[in-house]
């Protein structure tokens, strides 16, 4: 087996409707330029995108599953951040 395995890249594609780039998967490529070429062939064979971002998988820092509580639980108790928390009388009209 080759010791020289091509590095892994994460692929982000902007669809055609003015949306954000969205993660679609990953692939191997020797460099960024080839990663874009390969992403074109692997992830946009049916006009799925108008723009591609590639980033080395190693360069992504992810939150760990064990941090889920400390990171996200504080938001649970803050229901007042949602507009439906407030009762607005009907007479006031649309708000």
């Amino acid at each position: 087996m080759s010791k020289n395995e091509w590095p892994l890249w994460e692929i982000f594609i902007r669809g055609q409707h003015g949306l954000n780039h969205r993660h679609v998967g990953s692939l191997h490529a020797p460099d960024a330029e080839m990663a874009i070429c390969n992403a074109r062939d692997v992830y946009t064979r049916r006009n799925e995108g108008v723009s591609i971002w590639v980033v080395r998988s190693n360069d992504i820092t992810a939150s760990s599953p064990s941090e889920k509580g400390p990171l996200f639980e504080p938001a649970n108790s803050k229901v007042y951040r949602h507009p439906t928390f407030f009762d607005i009388p009907e007479e006031v009209g649309h708000m």
């Binding site: 080759s2 395995e5 091509w6 998967g25 990953s26 020797p30 080839m34 692997v42 064979r45 760990s64």
Partner: protein
Amino acid sequence: MYAQLVKSEGSKTREEMTPQEIAFQERIDRGERIEPKEWMPEGYRKTLIRQMGQHAHSEIVGQLPEGNWITRAPTLDRKAILLAKVQDEAGHGLYLYSAAETLGISRDELLEQLHNGKMKYSSIFNYPTLTWADIGAVGWLVDGAAIMNQVPLQRTSYGPYARAMVRICKEESFHQRQGYDIMMKMASGTAEQKAMAQDALNRFWYPALMMFGPSDKDSVHSAQSMAWKIKINTNDELRQKFVDQTVPQAKYLGLTVPDENLKWNEEKGGHDFSEPDWNEFFAVIAGNGPCNEERLGARVKAWDDGAWFRDGLMAHAEKAATRRHAAE
């Protein structure tokens, strides 16, 4: 299926499970998706690597029997379509390899295990494609059987696998339709062309039924995989569904399914049909099918012959990176 006879690790009773394993099983029972960095039992991880690896290898090796006809396609249109189809299979293999890599194995390691025979690919690709009608039969029957298995796998418990399946299923339906389109053309052509279509159906019918794996009563790995939701339906359920779906399609073509026991069973609401020859199935899996040596040989040769190219691009990338650093 594309993954047949996947050996399942684990099979613990609830009493034997650790609290962590019980919590994991409960997440799956609730229909939650398991994501890459989350805790999972070692058996779940290993079984998934085996199944997804075998699935990916099948997509890649599956290019060979069809690739055989790209240069021989009867028209330029058919050639372009077949080329696109085979290119999709390469894409499907890549989606699955990268999904498998999230479980902590590299693509090169998976390929090494394919090349040294430790990992398998679907038995179906060890049969030859002798005529152009075989390309029709492969798309119609082989991709049809694959869809049957892959549609439920979109709900499988492992997130990256499920998402790869969603992409694959979107593209797979084109494959089956292009195959059926070839069969329609052949079946409505000259007597000779129709005979070719019938001959292709005769040769691919039982190998297609084998794709779903052995009968449930002989399928020892199903229970654990189904508890983990990495297998959604039993082999026999899917095979029955495939037969019931395919029989009317054959009838429309005016072709005869090569099974004299095939008949509608009102009581069960499905067809009765003959089982494939399981001795043949196990022989093909063991490496003694008509094309095992040729298929694996072609993969190993492609890998070895491509080494200089992979290394060359890597050397170029490293050199360019060094140059960029120096300039900064």
